[in-house]
Amino acid sequence: MKTPRPFQKPVRAKRYERKIQNRIYLEPDRAFLDEITAQTDEGTYSLSRELERDEAKRLKKIVKEARKNRGAFAMGKVLILGVVVVAVLVFNLVFRDRLVERGAERLLESVFGAQSDLVDVRFRPIAGEIAFGGLEVADAARPMTNLFSMAAGRVDLDTWQLVNGRVVVRELRADGISFGTARESSGALPSASSESDGDGVEAQSGGANRGLGGIIEDDAISFASLGLPETLDAEAFVAEYSDQFETYAAVESVYASGSGYVESWSGEAQSLLNAGLDTAAEVTALAATDFSSIRDVETALELVESSQELFGATEAYVERVEEAYDAATGEARAILAAASEVPDLLQSDYQRVRDAIPDVRTQGTDFLVGLIEPFLRARLGEWYDRILTAYGVALRLREQADDRPQRARRSGDLIGFGTPVPARFELRNALLSVDGRVEQQLSIRGLSSEPDRTGLPTEVEYMSDTALERIEAVIDGRTDAAEPLALELSVAGSPLALDNGLDAVGLESFTARADMALGLRGSLDEGLDGSIDLQTRQMSVTGEVDELSIGGLIQELFEQTPILTAEFLFRLDDGSLTLRDGRTNLDEGIGDLVQDRIDATLATFEAEVQAELEALLGPELDRLNEAIAGVVDTEGAVEDLLLLARDREAAAAALQARAPNATDEIRTALEAEAREALDAARAEAEEAAAEAAAAAEAAAREAAEEAEAEAERRAEEAAAEAAEEIRNRIRLPGF
C-alpha cells in the first residue's frame, strides 16, 4: 500500500509537529506515530520501518484526521454559502427590474384596489432610484377606465428602508399624467371581480361609490325644485288630486239613495193610489145612496152593514197611507240631509286643490338657487368622487400600516431608543405634471400610511393653467387631528352648461362662464361642511318659450343679468348632500319681478283649476239635483195620497153617521105602519065580532066571543111579533 504523502520523504521536525503530531489527540494514535517514525540527525522525521498494510491504512486515516483539524471555518460550507449568495445576487441582478416592477405593481394594486401596470422599469439599488416608462392604474369603481396614467416617471427611494420592508419615497416625479382615460381591458383585480357580486366592490374601493347616488341624485330642474307646481296644466293638476276628492263619493251615494228611493216609493205610491181610488169609489157610491127611498128593513140593514164595512176599509187604508208617509218622509229627510252636505264637501275639495298650489312667496324663495343647484350637485359629485377615492387610498395605506413586531414566545422588555421609524409607506414629495399644450401640475407632500409616525398631514396641490383651476387640500390622518380634511378649490372661467331637465320649463340649454370657490372642511366619517361661492357671467338661455311662461321669465332673467353671484352652504354626510343655505345677488331685486310673474301665472292657473273643478263636478251636481227632485216628487205623491185617504175617511165617517139616522126613521115609519095595521086589524076584528054578534046573538055570541078572543090574541101576537121583528131588525149595534 502506498505510504501517505507526508511520510513519502523525510519531513522537517517543525512541520511534522505542526501538521501531524499536534493535531492528533488520541494517545493510542500518538503512540502509534511515535512507534513508526524516527527523528534523524538532520532534525527530520521519517518512517522508521516498512509498514504493514493495516498500519499504512491507519496512518492514512490519522493523516486525514490531522488535515481536518486545521482552521476555524468549514471551508466547504463557506464555499457553498458563497455560491448561494452569488447565485442570489446574480438572479437579483438579472431579474431585478422585473422583480421591482412586480413588487411596485403589487403595492399599487393593494393601495388602489385595481390593476396597475408598470412598463420599462429600471431599478438602481445603490442610488435608490426607480425609473419607469409608463404607468396605468385602473379605477376600482370603473374597471374600464384608468384612475390615472403616467407617461414616464422617476422615483427616488430609500433603499435601506426598502430592505426593512418600508417604502419611503423621497421624491416622485412623473410627466404625462392624465385622469380617466379609457382602458382596453378591465382593470378589476380577480379578487375584486369575484367579490363584486356582494359587497366586495365597496370594500375594494374603500367606499368610494357610496356617495355618487346621493349627490347626483337629480340634476334636472323641476317645477318642484323651483317651488312651483309640478304642472301648470289645470286639468292635469286637478286630475292629480282627483283621487282625494270626497264630493264624488258623496254625490254617488246621494244619487244611489235617491234613485232607490224614487224607484221603491213610486211603486208603493201607485199601489196606495189605486187602493185609495177603489175606496173612494165605494165611498162615493155609498154617499150617493137615497136613504129616503129605502122602504124596507132589509135594504136598510144592508145599507148599514155596507157603511160599516166601508168605514173599516177606509180606516185601514188611512193607517197604511200614514205608515208609508212616515217611512217615505224619514228616508227622504236622510237623503236630503246627505245631499245638504255635498256643498261643504265640494268646498273642501276645492280648498284642498287650492292649498296644493304653492305659495311662491314662502316656498319659492329658492327660485334661482334651485336653478343652479343641479349644476353644483354635478360638480360636487365629481369632486366628492375624487375625495372618496383619495380617502379609500388613505384607508388602504392605513390597513398596511399595522407592522407591530410579532411578540416572540420568549421575550423580554423592549427598550425604545427614540429613533423615528419611517412609516410603512411614505411619499414625501411627488410632482406630477401633464406636458403638452395643457399645463397641469399635481403635487403631493407627506402622504403616509402612518401619519402619527411621520407627524405630518398630507398636502395636495393641483393647478391647471388652462382650466384656471386650483386645489389645495390638507388631509390630516393623525389621531388627534383637529380637522381631518380641509379643501379649497377655485375654478376660474369654467364653462357652465345645463341641458338636462330644462325642458320642464320649456328651455333647451343654459350656458355661462363660472368662477367657483369651494371650501370643504370636516371628516368623511362625521360629515363635511362646505361652502361655495359662484360667480357666473355671459349667461345664455336657449329655447322657444312663451314670453309670459316661467321658461320665458328664466330666459329674460339670465339674459338681462350681467353677473350672477351665488353663495351656498351645504353639508356632505355619508354620501348625501344637504343644501343648508343658498342666496344670490338677484334674490331681492329680481325676486319681486319673479314673484309677480309667478303670481300672475299662478292666478291664471288657480282660475283654470277652479273652472276645471266646476267642469269636473258639475255633472255630478246635476245628478244630485235629479236624484233630489225624484225624492221630492215621490214624497209629494205620497203626501197627496195621505190627504186623499184622510178625505175619504171623513166621507166614510159621515156616511157611517148617516146610516143610523136612516134606520131610526125607517123603524119609526114601520112602527107607525104596524100600529096602523094593528089598529086596522083591531077595527076589523071588532067589526067582525059585531057582525057575528049581531047574526047569532046567542050562538054567535060564544063564537063571537071566541072569535073576538081569537082575533084579539092573534092581533096581539101579530103586533107583538111585528114589533119584535122590527125591533130586532132595526137594532143596530150599541142600540
Binding site: A72, K77, W160, N164, A408, D413, I415, F417
Partner: protein, 178 residues
C-alpha cells in the same frame, strides 16, 4: 438516524477532533439555547455554527439539552440585558443601531435578547474551555476504563451494539472490543 447520531457523538468524544471544537460546539449550543429564536441574531448564530469548524451534532444536542432548563436563567438574562440597554454610555450606540437598516431585526433592544446575547458571549469561552477540558479528561482517563470494563464489553457484544457498530465503522476503531 438517532442511533447514528449517538454513535457519532460517542465516536466524537474519543476521536482526533480537537477538544476545543467539541467545547465550542457545546458553548454554541448553550448560546443558541439562550437566545430567543425569533430574531436575526439567532439566525446569525446558527449560521456561524454552520460555518465554523465545530461539531454540528454536538451543538444541536447541547442546544436541546440546555434549552430544557435555560428558561430558568431568563430573569437573570433580562436583568443583564436591561442593565446593558439602559447603560448611558451605550445609549448613543444603540440609538444608532435602532436607526440602521436590518439591525432592528435582531431585536437587540429586547432585554432578554441582549441579556442572552451578552451572557452567552461571556460564558462562551468558559464553557468552551470547560467542555474541552472534560473531553480531554475523558479521552485520557475515562475512555480506556469504560472501554475495557466488562459491562461495556458485554453490552458491545449485544445485537444492538453490533448494529450501532455496523452503522458507524469508525466506532470499531475506537472500541476494539466491538
Amino acid at each position: 438516524m438517532i442511533i447514528r447520531l449517538v454513535a457519532k457523538l460517542i465516536a466524537l468524544l474519543n476521536s482526533n477532533k480537537r477538544a476545543a471544537e467539541v467545547g465550542a460546539a457545546v458553548a454554541f449550543g448553550f448560546w443558541i439555547a439562550c437566545v430567543p429564536a425569533t430574531n436575526l441574531l439567532f439566525a446569525l448564530l446558527v449560521l456561524v455554527v454552520v460555518l465554523v469548524k465545530v461539531n454540528l451534532g454536538m451543538a444541536i444536542v447541547s442546544s436541546l439539552g440546555f434549552s430544557i432548563f435555560i428558561s430558568a436563567l431568563d430573569p437573570l438574562a433580562m436583568r443583564l440585558g436591561e442593565a446593558i440597554l439602559r447603560s448611558p454610555a451605550l445609549t448613543d450606540l444603540f440609538t444608532r443601531f435602532a436607526a440602521m437598516p436590518i439591525v432592528p431585526w435582531t431585536r437587540f433592544n429586547d432585554t432578554l435578547v441582549m441579556g442572552t446575547l451578552v451572557g452567552g458571549a461571556i460564558l462562551f469561552v468558559p464553557i468552551t474551555l470547560l467542555a474541552a477540558m472534560l473531553v480531554r479528561l475523558y479521552r485520557k482517563h475515562i475512555h480506556a476504563r469504560i472501554a475495557n470494563s466488562k459491562l461495556v464489553k458485554a453490552f458491545m457484544a449485544t445485537p444492538f451494539a453490533q448494529k450501532v457498530a455496523s452503522a458507524l465503522q469508525g466506532v470499531r476503531r475506537v472500541w476494539p472490543a466491538a
